[in-house]
Structure formats: C-alpha cells, structure tokens
C-alpha cells in the first residue's frame, strides 16, 4: 500500500517535472522566435546599408542619375537636415503640450475631465499615423496650398503628444505623495510644489518619454508622405517641401537605380542607429537614476 502511494506520488512528481520543462522550453522558444525578426532586420539593414556609407553620403545631396551613365552617388544630407528640422520642430510643439497635459492628469486629476482626457490620449496614441497625416494634409496643406516641413512637424507632434503625456503622468505618479505633503507642511502652494519639488524629481523620466517619442516620430513615413512631399535639394525652409530620411528611404527603394536603392538602405541604417542609440541612451539615463 505504501508502495502504491509512493509510486503514485513519484509519477505525479515526474509529470510535474516534465510539464515544467515543456513550459520553460516553450517560453524560451517563443522568446527566441520573437527576437529573430529584430536580429534579421538589424543584420540585414547593416549589411545592405553599410555599403552606402561614405563621407559624401553625409555631406552631399541628391545627384541626378541617368540610365547607362556611371554617375557619382551623391548623398542624403538634405534628408538628414530635413529630418532634424521637422522632428526638432515637432519636439518643440509636442513637449510643452505633452508635459503640461501630463502634469494636469497627474497632479490635478479629479473629476470627469481627467477621465475624458486620458481616454482621448489613449485613442490618439493608437491612431494610425496615415490618418493623422491625411488630416494634416486636408487641414494644413490644402488650406495653405503648400506642402511644407511644418505641416509634417505638426502631424508628428500630434503623434508624440499622447506618448509624452502618458509617460509624464506615469512618472509624476511615481514621485512619492509624501514629498508633496512635506512641501505642503512647509507652506508651499500646490503649483510651487509641482514646479520645485515634483518636476525636478521626475525630470529624468520625463526626458526619457520625450526621447522615446522623438525616436518614434523620426521613423514615421506615412504622415510625411502627404505633408512634406519630399525635395531633392538641401533646404532649411520649413515652410516649403522638404526631404526626410524615412521619406527618402521609401522613395529611393522605388527607383530603378541601384545607387539610389543602396542609399535607401543607408538612410534606413541611420534611422535604425538613431532608434537604437536613443534606446541605449534612455537605458543609461534610467539606470543612473535608479542607482
């Protein structure tokens, strides 16, 4: 009798061990499969794009290519400058809006208004970017009768604001309530506490949110297609058509010239490095804050 009990127990035990191994294997396998695309994309982009990299790639602009004539490759300086200006302007527009909205939600969130704002923010952050782009096209480009970098900036800012708002709100909520109490007990008005106690304590986290939003916006293509249009010349005029890296990558892949196809990969590589670099920077920032 003891024998059978022991046997039954050991059978159950072995089964448990096997189920455990199976589940562990499944999770490890799934993780590996999930990582495959990332590794493939990274390695492929690097392999294809690295050939395009040269000094000229960063310092020259578009050079016309003719079939049958071996021409110089030119570069993507105009797209780098365009991306920097468009994303920079978007950052200037979105950061104050997003941070202030986040402060409102975290510090003064009571009543139905906050719930509505939070809901709208969530919807907006899930909005397909082409919808935002087309809306910007109708509201800005059509009305001003002018494709422009600024229209693209506004579209990108609309995509960035919800991300910045929610990260700001979440980071501010991490600041201990006891700090706000301490400030109140010292006679500080609420807004003063927010400005001098809560915000400084949360600055690193807010910067992280802004950086991630920026990295995401820098890679957006769809909203720029219908607003910025594209431009083969180097221009600093944000009120006119501009070039941007993702846009250039998209346009150049459609071209029948190998030189331009390669430059598309080079542009893609710059974007990937930008995203990767931002993420590493963010990790370094947050680790320093935690440590």
């Amino acid at each position: 009798m003891f024998d059978t009990v022991a046997n039954a127990a050991s059978v159950r035990y072995r089964r448990r061990v096997w189920v455990n191994r199976l589940m562990l294997g499944l999770t490890i396998g799934s993780t590996a499969v999930a990582l495959v695309p990332l590794v493939l994309i990274l390695s492929y982009v690097v392999r294809q794009g690295v050939g395009a990299l040269s000094v000229g790639f960063f310092t020259e602009t578009f050079r016309p290519v003719t079939i049958g004539v071996a021409g110089g490759a030119g570069g993507v300086l105009h797209a780098i400058v365009g991306s920097a200006l468009i994303v920079g302007a978007a950052l200037l527009l979105a950061t104050p809006l997003g941070v202030l909205a986040g402060i409102y939600l975290a510090e003064y969130r009571s009543g139905p208004a906050a719930t509505v704002i939070r809901f709208c923010t969530d919807v907006l952050s899930a909005m397909p970017s082409i919808v935002v782009g087309v809306t910007a096209y109708v509201l800005i480009v059509q009305r001003t009768r002018q494709f422009s970098g600024l229209a693209g900036s506004i579209a990108l800012a609309v995509l960035m604001v919800p991300v910045i708002t929610r990260t700001t709100e979440e980071i501010l909520q991490l600041v201990p309530q006891s700090m706000r109490e301490a400030a109140a007990a010292l006679g500080a008005p609420r807004w003063w506490t927010t400005l001098t106690v809560v915000l400084p304590a949360a600055l690193g986290g807010i910067a992280t949110g802004v950086l991630l939003a920026m990295a995401r916006a820098a890679g957006e293509t769809a909203p720029l297609l219908v607003t910025v249009l594209g431009n083969n010349q180097l221009t600093f005029d944000i009120f006119g058509p501009m070039q941007a890296l993702p846009l250039l990558a998209y346009r150049y892949t459609e071209q029948p010239f190998a030189v331009l196809n390669e430059q598309a990969w080079g542009a893609a590589l710059i974007l990937v490095v930008l995203v990767l670099g931002t993420n590493i920077l963010v990790r370094a920032l947050t680790r320093r804050r935690a440590g």
Binding site: A183, L186, G187, A188, T196, V197
Partner: protein
C-alpha cells in the same frame, strides 16, 4: 469622566527640566504651564465616516506631548488637523476649534500657509526632496510667498536648523550633496531641520521613528527633548510605541476607538501619572498590554 483631559495638566517633569535648563543658560522657560494649542470639540469626518469625534485637548507650551493609542484611533488624523494638512484632501471635513496661542487655526480669514509656518511637521517616513541637503532645509525659507531673505540669512538659518536637529556636524562638509545620500536616521533629522528652518512654535511628529532602527530612534528621541529643553519648542508626537511615549513625553494623551469606530480621547495627563496610575480602565488595559 471620559473627558478628563479637558482640565489643563501641569507637566511635572517639564518644570523640573525647566529648572535644569535655566542652569545651563538655556532661554528661561516659564514654569507656569501655558497652553500652546487649545483643541475644542474637534471632529474630523472622512466622507461619511467620523474619524475622530469631539476631541478636547490642551497642548502645554514648551513640553513634549505624546499621543498614544491603538491603530485606527485617529492619532495621526488628529495631529494632521493641527496644521491643516487635511485642507488639500478632498472629502475631509473638520469641525470644532483649534486655537494656537489663543488665535484660531481654522477660519475663513486664516491663511493656512501662516499656520503651517508656525506649526511644522515631520512625517512617519523620512521624506526629503530630491534636492541637496542645503536646498532641503532652505525649502521653507525660499518658498513662494515667504518673506524674502538674503542669501546669507538663508545660510545662517539653515545652519541653525541643522544644529538644532543635531545634524550639522555630520553634514557641514557636504551640504551640496543629495539628501538621499544620507542614512535613514539622518534623513529623518534632516526632515526635522527642514521643519525647524522656518522657525515654528510647534513641531508635530507623526510616528517619526517607526521607519528607523533603535540607534536612530534614540537620536530622534533625544532630539525631541533638546527641542523643548534647549530651544523652547512645543513638541507633539504621535507614537504607537508606549516606551517611547514614556521616555520622551511630559504629557501623554491616550486615544482609542469608540463603539461607533470613531477615534476618541480617553484620558490625558502627566506621563508619569498616565503610566503608573491611569484613571480610565481602557487606558490601563492598553498600557498593560491587554488590548491594542
């Protein structure tokens, strides 16, 4: 005889200490017991629930008053009402009166900022700001609406507050370092210094040692005595540690939960009397460990 605390108590130990203090060239402390805070029929309601009901309590000046009692008896709630910390919490109603030196603490014409400047507060867990040691202590001096002080005056008052909080010698060479670089006990003394910098009359401490180890606890307790004996502050401390109340306080108030689950004041008196000869059965049950 539930409201035995209505009568003003003369803290015996304090008189003794006042004499000792005079010998040490400390500022003369009047022997007669003055009432610093006069709490009358104070009731605090959270939404629908009465948290503390009908508290009548007189806090003597320049003495340590301890408020003890089981969890949920409203000790902290009562303490926080004294410098209007409930103002910012939605759904809290405070009725009754609190008088500071005979002047009302509540009332439409009273500025809560002024109340908080005169009644400082130290919380359960050390809660320094994410700023330097110096900026933490200077916070109350540089807050919006405070009287403008010159840079030198601020520095002087920071030093004085840190000395009074017995922290100066440990931090004087690193005032620009983040407050979080201090140990927990040092952080709590920093929070005391931060409260003292605005030169209040009264310092409220809400279970100030519950997050500290025994050595840091001893320093805070010693500090509470020094604040009263050497610097003339009035100290009110909430604690659920009866030994602590017995060690540091001149006057002890005992609170408990009544049948309607509201906090109520059972008895108040000189600490030695409360612990050796309580008048109320509930006090005796609590201090002898039969309840709570």
């Amino acid at each position: 005889m539930q409201q035995a605390g209505v009568t003003t108590v003369v803290p015996e130990r304090r008189i003794h200490l006042a004499v000792a203090g005079a010998r040490d060239d400390a500022p003369a402390i009047p022997a007669a017991s003055e009432v610093k805070l006069d709490i009358r029929k104070l009731t605090i309601i959270y939404g629908q629930r009465v948290a503390v009901r009908d508290i009548d309590l007189r806090i003597p000046a320049q003495a340590v008053t301890a408020i003890i009692g089981p969890s949920g008896s409203g000790k902290s709630t009562l303490l926080r009402a004294l410098n209007r910390m409930h103002d910012d919490v939605p759904g809290v109603r405070v009725t009754g009166e609190v008088l500071l030196d005979g002047q009302p603490v509540y009332g439409p014409e009273v500025d809560p900022v002024e109340v908080r400047r005169r009644i400082g507060m130290v919380f359960q867990r050390p809660n320094p700001f994410a700023k330097s040691i110096f900026d933490n202590v200077a916070f109350g001096l540089t807050v919006f609406g405070a009287r403008r002080l010159s840079r030198r005056e601020v520095a002087e008052r920071v030093e004085r507050a840190l000395r009074q909080a017995a922290l100066w010698d440990e931090v004087k060479d690193r005032l620009d370092q983040p407050a979080t670089s201090l140990s927990g006990g040092q952080q709590q003394r920093l929070c005391v210094a931060r409260a003292l910098a605005v030169e209040p009359d009264v310092v409220l401490l809400d279970e100030p040692t519950s997050a500290l180890d025994p050595i840091a606890t001893g320093r805070i307790e010693q500090l509470m005595r020094e604040l009263v004996e050497q610097h003339g502050y009035t100290v009110v401390v909430v604690t659920h540690n009866m030994q602590q109340a017995a060690r540091v306080s001149d006057v002890t108030a005992f609170m408990t939960v009544d049948a309607s689950r509201a906090g109520t004041l059972v008895e108040v008196g000189p600490t030695a009397r409360i612990f050796t000869n309580p008048q109320d059965q509930r006090t005796e049950d609590y201090i002898t460990g039969r309840v709570g």
